[in-house]
Amino acid sequence: MKYFRYVWKNVFRKKGRAFLTMASIVLVLILIVILTSLLSAMEGTTGTGKGASHIVVQHATGLANFMPLAYRQRIEQIPGVVAVAPEVWFGGIYKDERPENFFGQLSTDPEVWGRIHDDFRLPEDQEKTWREQRDSFIAGKQLLEKYGWKIGDRIQLRGTYIPITLDLVLRGVYAGPDESNIFFHNKYLENARTFFSDKTGIFFLRTQTPEQVSAVCDGINRMFENSDAPVKAMPEKQFQLQFMEMMGNIKLLVRSIALTVLFTVVLIVANSVAMSARERVTQIAVIRALGFRRGQVLALVLSEAMVLAVLGGLFGIAIGVPVVKGLVSVMSHTPVAPFAYNVKITAANMLNAFGAAVAIGVLAGFVPAIRSARVSIVDGLRQVV
């Protein structure tokens, strides 16, 4: 601690350079906070939280193919399954085709919706009305705030791949982890469409406990593996991740970006620390003449890199947290909204980012520190004397 003043003053010996170097670390740390939050959302386990017991079943070849509705009864028979709802992604156009008017539109079975979506809250009277009125729908609280809807309002959804127009009345508002969708009656959709009325896009179900998810998925997959329409059952989070991965191996991309920026900033900080150390060869020779050992010089120069990196890291994390929150807010109005709700700043994310800052300090400071420790006292003093 008694050396801290010496380290601190040397770090800010050239303030402009120190602040620019720190700014590069801050920017990288903001990026790291964002990327680790995205990564943890992608890699998040399904073993915690209420949504952890959710399973989505789709056609094995993809969402473009539908499955027979008759599968529902068979899936319901699997031990551990609480309830199963066939759901269809309507994908209609609300008002116009602008992205900000896009939101999730799912037909479902209101009779079991509440039992499956145990992570959502819908007032009982509203749920009852929704069940009773086939042309009614419920919407997430966030959508109400976004569009200014009120109970009793009517909306029209113009179908795209299902060529019909839905005329729906808002009868309920739910709250929960993902408030960016609307749910409406399966029966209304069946009545409105004239084709594949005995099929569904997905089955959404809940198991009694999260621990049963894996076994139930296996059971469902095995049950239909030799049928005309084999299925793929998976935890809800994995299902959401599929949409991200349609764009490629996002996780690999995110990791590559994170490593690239980390490596780049290590080079930037290393260059800055090395420049600073090179300019002080005589000073280093003097303190070694005074009795500082090579190891102490190494520790001092390494500490300078650490101070820069840790300060940059703390500022980066402090700024990164609100940035991620803002990003989630923006994403929640886009088609990746369900994924956005999983993007959270956790203590682990912040710890990871801080660890990255420490790693930047160590990696960037190591070579200049070793070089400084190797400076010959006689050669160092000769530079000016």
Binding site: K2, Y6, Q283, L290, G291
Partner: protein, 240 residues
């Protein structure tokens, strides 16, 4: 005969630059007693600074032995030598070599960071050292806020703060005007007389050399002459 403080026996130094071997000192024998003030003179490249560096333990001889207080420093391991320097040697450089980002007080405190003294004790020592050099009122000044003479006095305070036995000075007045140089030489004299510091000083300046008890001449790496009571003669020749 009393044991000398510094005993240099058959010391040679050869520097290697790539495939070249450059002999700098050749078979030097020298004894310096405790409390002596010795000046090393000679033309550039004669090996003065190399001899000073060897006495200070910041360089090691190619051949021969250097005993200080009866201890062979030429065979010490690097870390032991660093500790030994911290305890025994005070350095005064021509260009002062203060750390520009540290105040006078922080610069003087540097050698004490290697000790087990508390912060309070360190500051007491620093105040005492700066008082001796007459800069107690400049403790919070940065080197850039001091004159050359004041900077050198801060460097002297740094050299004496850990109370070393030996002060090594490499052209301590070489970058100063005549008046400042006289002040620094007066200060060195005082440290030698009042505080019994053994001083080994490299200089080109006859007036500086005149302050020493003994004047050693080096030429092409060999001790060519030794003059006693040089002070009087130096003073005489320095008068206009």
């Amino acid at each position: 005969m009393a044991q000398p403080l510094i005993s240099i026996e058959h010391v040679s130094k050869v520097y290697r630059r790539d495939s070249l071997q450059i002999p700098v000192l050749d078979d030097i024998d020298l004894r310096i007693d405790k409390g002596e003030f010795v000046a090393l003179m000679g033309p550039s490249g004669s090996g003065k600074t190399t001899l000073l560096n060897l006495c200070a333990g910041i360089d090691v001889p190619t051949r021969g032995r250097i005993n200080i207080e009866g201890r062979d420093i030429s065979s010490m391991k690097e870390n032991d030598l660093a500790r030994w320097r911290a305890d025994h040697i005070g350095f005064i450089f021509q260009l002062y070599n203060l750390v520009p980002v540290l105040t006078a007080m922080e610069n003087v405190e540097l050698p004490l960071l290697l000790t087990k003294l508390s912060r309070k004790e360190r500051h007491e020592h620093v105040r005492a050292a700066l008082s001796i050099v007459g800069l107690a009122d400049r403790m919070d000044h940065y080197p850039r806020q001091l004159s050359g003479g004041q900077e050198q006095r801060v460097a002297i305070a740094r050299a004496i703060v850990a109370d070393p036995l030996i002060l090594v000075a490499d052209e301590p007045t070489g970058d100063l005007d005549a008046r400042s140089a006289e002040e620094i030489l007066d200060l060195l004299n005082r440290l030698n007389k009042e505080f019994h510091k053994t001083i080994v000083m490299v200089t080109h300046d006859p007036r500086a050399a005149a302050r020493a008890h003994r004047l050693l001449h080096l030429d092409k790496g060999v001790l060519s002459a030794e003059t006693h009571a040089a002070a009087e003669r130096g003073r005489e020749s320095a008068r206009p």
